[in-house]
Symmetry: none
Subunit: 258 residues, 2 copies
């Protein structure tokens, strides 16, 4: 299925039994260098305009991505600039995002490959590192699971934590506000009580009563001594009333009714 572009056709094979690279190793005995000079041998490969079918997971996926970043790049404005955003760092972010998207924290790597439009190989680079840091866990076949709970982006934890702290604070002062209210309510209750107690003194004295002329009335009022605190209805203070009674008593007294 996958056309695999022009495939250059190697014309050089290196004698087996040996690897290449590796200049500095410490075991120099027996190493040979073969220098190969190449002339032009152009790489076929022109442009790979393949409209990437989703096929092959591992194989070469897209060919290109960013347009060449020709030096000048007249337009050079928007954030499309080369190299920078093209890889791992950014890819990792995208990957993480994908991962956050999928609830149950499981992600299918092939899906990721499709969505992110990258070679599977790159995904492995990411998953390997993330696994090394225990943020991820390899699931069966082609999938990984997000471990390491929420704590992912420090930013997020920070946000979450500070949100929690804020709520705590608000709860705390809501609490103290309530404390205040309670205090006030109890104060009112006390004041009410005191008020009642004060009125206790607004009564007729024994002498006052004695000034009342008729015996029965005196007796009656005496029994009314129990009626101590008096509450008025419509009249804000009882003082005038008491005064009235005193006045009455005096009248009786002056008329010798006692």
């Amino acid at each position: 299925p996958h056309p695999r572009p022009p495939q250059p056709v190697y014309e050089n094979v290196v004698p087996p039994a040996r690897r290449r690279g590796r200049p500095k190793s410490k075991a120099p005995e027996n190493e040979q260098k073969i220098e190969i000079e190449n002339g032009q041998s152009e790489v076929g490969k022109g442009e790979i305009s393949q409209g990437h079918h989703k096929e092959s997971t591992t194989g070469p996926t897209k060919g290109i991505k960013r347009a060449r970043k020709p030096h000048g790049s007249i337009e050079g404005d928007a954030a499309n600039n080369c190299r920078y955003d093209s890889s791992l760092g950014l890819l990792t972010k995208k990957f993480i995002n994908l991962l956050k998207g999928a609830e149950d924290g499981t992600l299918d790597l092939n899906k990721a490959v499709e969505i992110l439009e990258v070679q599977k190989r790159r995904i492995y680079d990411i998953t390997n590192v993330l696994e090394g840091v225990d943020l991820i866990e390899k699931g069966l076949k082609n999938t990984i699971r997000w471990k390491g709970f929420d704590m992912l982006l420090p930013k997020e934890v920070e946000l979450q934590t500070s949100a929690l702290k804020e709520e705590l604070d608000s709860s705390h002062d809501k609490e103290s506000r309530l404390d205040e209210e309670i205090r006030e309510a109890q104060e009112k209750l006390l004041a009410l009580k005191l008020n009642k107690d004060k009125k206790k003194w607004l009564y007729l004295s024994k002498e006052d009563i004695c000034k009342i002329p008729h015996l029965q009335v005196r007796k009656f009022l005496a029994s009314c001594l129990f009626l101590l605190p008096v509450i008025t209805k419509g009249i804000s203070t009882i003082a005038p009333l008491i005064a009235g009674i005193h006045s009455y008593c005096n009248t009786c007294s002056s008329r010798n009714l006692c």
Copy 2:
């Protein structure tokens, strides 16, 4: 559906004189050297003999060929190297460890290269990903700094977070307890008020008063009509008192004192 080219049998192919991967380039001009190491390249943990010359940084470092991963491998338990530990996942762990070691969280990548005995290239794989996840931050030249605080261990964050949540909870129900207290206090206040209102009806009627024999007393009591709600002192209900007054009135009445 991955075609994956028929990979000829050749066991060692070297894209000769031409870059193999990287098809894109257009400038194949210069020559390249290919050093071939032959022999067995032993598994043993090559020494990093890079005693001098900075060369090492980028260049190929170790060459480790993994030992065969023999099927059975009786002991097959402990550190059976093979491919497994040779890479990224493990390397990442080691790297993180190094990072945790260095206080001030800064690590020199070249140091890491030496210590971990790996190619710089591998370190980049790690730093790129970690940076993508915001656990790391690139410092100037060859260094990175550990960001993302302690939160690395999910355990810790979890603990901190749950502690916070617990406090929040306790605050919340402390609050609701206070709410309850307030409610009760207000209830009491209301009850007190209602109580007062009820007592409003415990008064002597106009007729009651008219039954009182003597004019002055009648006048006096009439003026006392204002004293409507009556509060008792020591006596829980005023009913008996009212009854007493009625009784008194009746007595007067029966004696024709009216």
